[in-house]
């Protein structure tokens, strides 16, 4: 029996990494959608690192994750753990475990929450132990500290230029994703949108790789806020979308994706490729922008400070500063959205979401999307932003199940809100998609019904609308904006309303 103090169990701590060592290594990361990951690679490169996003997680990764870490994980933990483990295992077979520890490091976001997201690294560490790769270095980035300094050894510096670059990469790719999803379901030539998006992501990658250096602290923040550098690149993105011809008279239900961060963000096996599946089933997908999540995180901090006003010294000043920062963040997103013709969906106001959710879920209950999940569902429904809400929740996700439970009260009060909570285990695709399809069938009927109502309201039929659109060729381009009227959710119905408004035949509401 070996029980001296030194031999007691100790948690994993990564070995220090020096600048020389990190120059030899490649930084691995993942967990976002492919557009954001590709551009974040450029942010690392811009800071003098070599970085690579892990390949999209697969069902094999899920199985490996389950095998290597503790029983009972939520599926995002299994997917991400298995994703890292399979990559490292393959590399270890190719170059040996010692070389893997030397040539790769993994960087992941840590959270302050009590949910498992804050403890994902425990699973990674256990997997590393179980694979005999304890020497591999894994670093946590605190998602609340943009300038947390150098990791031990000084090689990896999580500083303001790196963090702000990653946030801007996310904002840019969010608006690009928004434009993409508003375009692809209506493209006339199949595959054209994907080709343009691929080019645009490379364009953004290049722009972020060449991003000018503007100091280590506030200088870089001020520059990102004020520069036209990224706006100009997004304008070029917009120009490239202009070649895409669209037919917006296709009647499609809009499906708002919401749910747990990882499952709503990634596009692949972890969520049964649900974005593409919904499009293949005839829907327009309203994706979940990562920016909305970041905005929510800021709101959570604002709320903590709100509670401290009058109790803790300095809380009021901190609150004012943080609210100001939140306004700047939202303004930056809006600038980028404007560069893409305001076509991507706007960011909902966090405080409106809070107000909407208040009767059903307390805004301070944290973990997962909290009250935002409830607020987004109501916001989408009341403002006619989509016909249906598809909520992706990992099996056994602690916080999300609570928000879903509170949704029982919402659907009781709003029985016409089409809400599809899909519990995702990662290996029960048919079951999940068939549940989604049942609600989608109703959403399709609603989209048709709504279109017919708008036809009656405007006195326009698709046959009459087509020549009107052809008379204005700009309307056939992906870069033409059809405003969301609040009268109808669907693109086709709003197109009729737009035409009727232009022609002066729109009847009074």
């Amino acid at each position: 029996m070996n029980i001296s103090a030194k031999h007691h169990f100790r948690a994993y701590t990564p070995a220090p990494i020096t600048r020389e060592q990190i120059d030899r290594a490649e930084i691995l990361f993942g967990g976002l959608h492919w557009r954001a990951e590709r551009v974040v690679e450029a942010v690392f490169e811009n800071m003098g690192y070599r970085a690579r996003a892990l390949p999209a997680a697969t069902r094999d990764d899920l199985m490996t994750g389950r095998e290597l870490a503790d029983i009972g994980q939520c599926c995002p933990t299994s997917f991400t753990t298995g994703n890292l483990a399979n990559f490292l295992r393959a590399e270890a077979e190719r170059i040996g475990p010692a070389a893997v520890a030397d040539r790769y490091v993994y960087v992941t976001a840590g959270s302050c929450g009590a949910c498992r997201f804050g403890q994902y690294h425990q699973s990674y560490e256990l997997a590393l132990r179980n694979m005999g790769l304890e020497a591999f270095r894994l670093f946590l980035i605190d998602q609340k500290k943009p300038d947390q300094g150098a990791a031990e050894g000084g090689g990896l510096d999580i500083n303001m230029p790196l963090t702000i670059g990653a946030v801007w990469a996310i904002l840019c790719t969010d608006v690009l994703q928004g434009l993409e999803y508003r375009t692809r379901p209506y493209e006339v030539q199949a595959g054209q949108t994907d080709a343009v998006v691929g080019d645009c992501v490379e364009l953004l990658h290049e722009a972020f790789r060449k991003r000018p250096y503007r100091g280590k602290k506030w200088g870089t923040l001020a520059w990102h806020m004020s520069t036209g550098y990224f706006i100009n690149v997004l304008r070029e993105v917009f120009r490239r979308f202009d070649v895409i011809e669209v037919d917006r008279l296709r009647v499609k239900p809009i499906v708002k994706i919401t749910g747990e961060f990882y499952l709503q963000t990634v596009e692949g096996d972890p969520n049964y490729n649900i974005h593409r599946w919904l499009e293949s089933e005839g829907a327009e997908v309203y994706p979940a922008a990562i920016a909305v999540w970041l905005d929510y995180l800021i709101r959570c901090e604002v709320q903590k400070l709100e509670d401290k006003v009058g109790v803790e010294k300095g809380a009021r000043a901190k609150l004012a500063a943080l609210r100001g920062a939140q306004r700047l963040f939202r303004w930056s997103f809006d600038r980028m959205r404007a560069a893409l013709g305001d076509i991507p969906f706007e960011m909902p106001d966090q405080y409106e979401l809070r107000r909407l959710a208040a009767p059903y879920f307390h805004h301070r209950l944290s973990g997962g999307e909290g009250d935002m999940l409830v607020g987004k569902a109501l916001w989408t429904h009341k403002k006619k932003k989509a016909h249906m809400i598809c909520e992706l929740s990992p099996y056994a996700c602690m916080p999300n199940t609570m928000s879903i439970g509170a949704m029982a009260g919402v659907t009781g009060k709003y029985p016409d809100l089409l809400y599809a909570p899909i519990e995702i285990k990662g290996d029960a695709e048919v079951h999940a998609l068939s549940r989604c399809q049942m609600i989608l069938t109703e959403a399709k009927k609603r989209a048709i019904r709504e279109f017919v109502e708008v036809m009656e309201r405007t006195g326009l039929t698709p046959e009459e609308a087509k020549p009107l659109i052809d008379a204005h060729p700009r309307m056939n381009r992906a870069t033409y904006r059809i405003p969301q009227t609040g009268i109808a959710a669907g693109m086709a119905a709003n197109t009729l309303l737009q035409l009727a408004g232009a022609r002066g035949t729109r009847k009074a509401a």
Binding site: M1, N2, I3, S4, A5, K6, H7, H8, F9, R10, A11, T13, D70, I71, G72, Q73, C74, T77, G110, C112, G113, A114, C115, R116, G118, Q119, H121, Q122, S123, L126, D307, K308, G310, V311, E312, Y360, F361, H362, R364, L365, S366, G367, G368, A396, C397, M398, P399, T401, M402, S403, I404, G405, A406, M407, A408, G409, G412
Partner: protein, 389 residues
């Protein structure tokens, strides 16, 4: 406060679901309401969790599939609404966001589990889905969000929630009641810790083994933890719950002396060496309890209780087991606990644990004592591994 308010308060009846983190905070709520002038007899807790309670009062009220400790709260709500001889006026179900933990100041945070803190919102939905059951029964559902780890914020949280429900309530009076609540809770905890110390002193004196329970507070509920520890106690082994382990500095410094001397920790309450993501109060305490169990010579066995689908316990399964087992201390876990007590298999496992305890405890005590300072505060005279049992 006017005479009329005083009289109204004396009649006011409050029902509190005896579930989740109320298991370690009930004394706070008793102290708080009594300070506001409510009669102790009018602060009613629901019964222990049971299948019967759920069947009779909670059936059909569930809104989502989650762990049993949260799901069963529907039964507690139902019992307080429908099962009281004297009707309650307020169903008080605090959303405890953070807990006052003895590890405060040594951990990154002291949050409650996201499911546990949100349970009242979730359970409430089941009583509103078809009709407003609270309104129908003229019961005010009061579910304040309470940050017990941040005492300064608590008065306003409770005042905002209870204003208009408790007649004539004022903020200053609420602040005094909160202080009283903390004092009552502290006195209760101190009392139980003193009793745990008595058990440890007896074990040290008599060279007898005891068992540490590593579990969440609500596993003390016979309907959640299924009284597994009571079965072990019936075999003759004293039981210690980590939540009430004595925290006297003298004793803790003795337990962690080697770790402190080698600079592995800065304080006996540090858990950074085993659990860097120390955000969750109950998880932090379980990890700390495992460290204690690994070091205290007379704790020869730790049992881990975890409920089915507990996402908070899941990442800590291996660290807790490793902490305990690497010290040579026996470790047994009862995972996936649910509504039904698997009485047959529990009996077999308790017999197994008892067998190992009987066979291995003397050796474990002896081996662990060899690494401890002989000047043990639990004994008036120094202990040595070589002393006859």
């Amino acid at each position: 406060m006017s005479e009329a308010d005083r009289a109204a308060r004396a009649k006011l009846r409050v029902g509190i679901p005896k579930a989740l983190n109320v298991w370690t905070t009930h004394q706070f709520w008793l102290g708080f309401f009594q300070s506001l002038g409510l009669s102790p007899r009018n602060v009613v807790f629901s019964s222990d969790t049971s299948d019967e309670q759920m069947r009779e009062f909670g059936s059909g009220r569930g809104t989502v599939d989650c762990c049993y400790p949260v799901k069963c709260v529907s039964g507690h709500y139902g019992e307080l609404i429908f099962g009281q001889k004297r009707k309650i006026d307020i169903l008080f179900s605090p959303m405890i966001y953070s807990l006052a933990s003895f590890l405060d100041g040594h951990a990154m945070d002291s949050l409650a589990c996201p499911r546990v803190m949100a349970a009242p919102e979730n359970i409430k939905a089941g009583f509103l889905r078809e009709k407003d059951v609270f309104a129908e029964n003229r019961i005010a559902h009061v579910a304040p969000l309470v940050t017990l780890a941040e005492p300064k914020l608590v008065p306003r949280q409770l005042f905002d929630a209870l204003q208009g429900v408790v007649p004539g309530l004022g903020i200053e009076e609420t602040a005094r009641a909160v202080e009283e609540g903390y004092a009552t809770l502290a006195a209760f905890n101190e009392n139980l810790r003193a009793r745990s110390r008595e058990i440890l002193e007896w074990c040290a004196r008599e060279r007898r083994p005891c068992v540490m329970v590593l579990a969440r507070p609500y596993h003390m509920d016979p309907g959640i933890g299924h009284e597994i520890e009571a079965d072990l106690q019936a075999c003759g082994y004293p039981i210690l719950w980590l939540q009430y382990f004595p925290t006297d500095p003298e004793l803790l410094n003795w337990i962690f002396r080697a770790d402190l001397a080698e600079g592995l920790i800065k304080h006996p309450f540090d858990i950074d060496d085993v659990w860097p993501s120390s955000y969750s109060a109950n998880t932090n305490e379980i990890l700390w309890g495992a460290k204690v169990a690994a070091r205290v010579p007379w704790i020869t066995c730790a049992i881990r209780l975890a409920s089915y689908e507990c996402g908070m316990d899941q990442p800590s399964f291996t660290p807790v087991q490793q902490i305990v087992e690497r010290s040579g201390t026996l470790f047994f876990s009862f995972q996936e606990l649910d509504s039904t007590k698997a009485a047959g298999s529990v009996k077999i496992r308790v017999e197994t644990i008892s067998y190992y305890l009987e066979r291995n405890s003397p050796g474990i005590i002896e081996a662990k004592l060899r690494h401890m300072d002989p000047a043990c505060p639990l004994l008036r005279r120094p202990v040595s591994a070589d002393l006859p049992a």
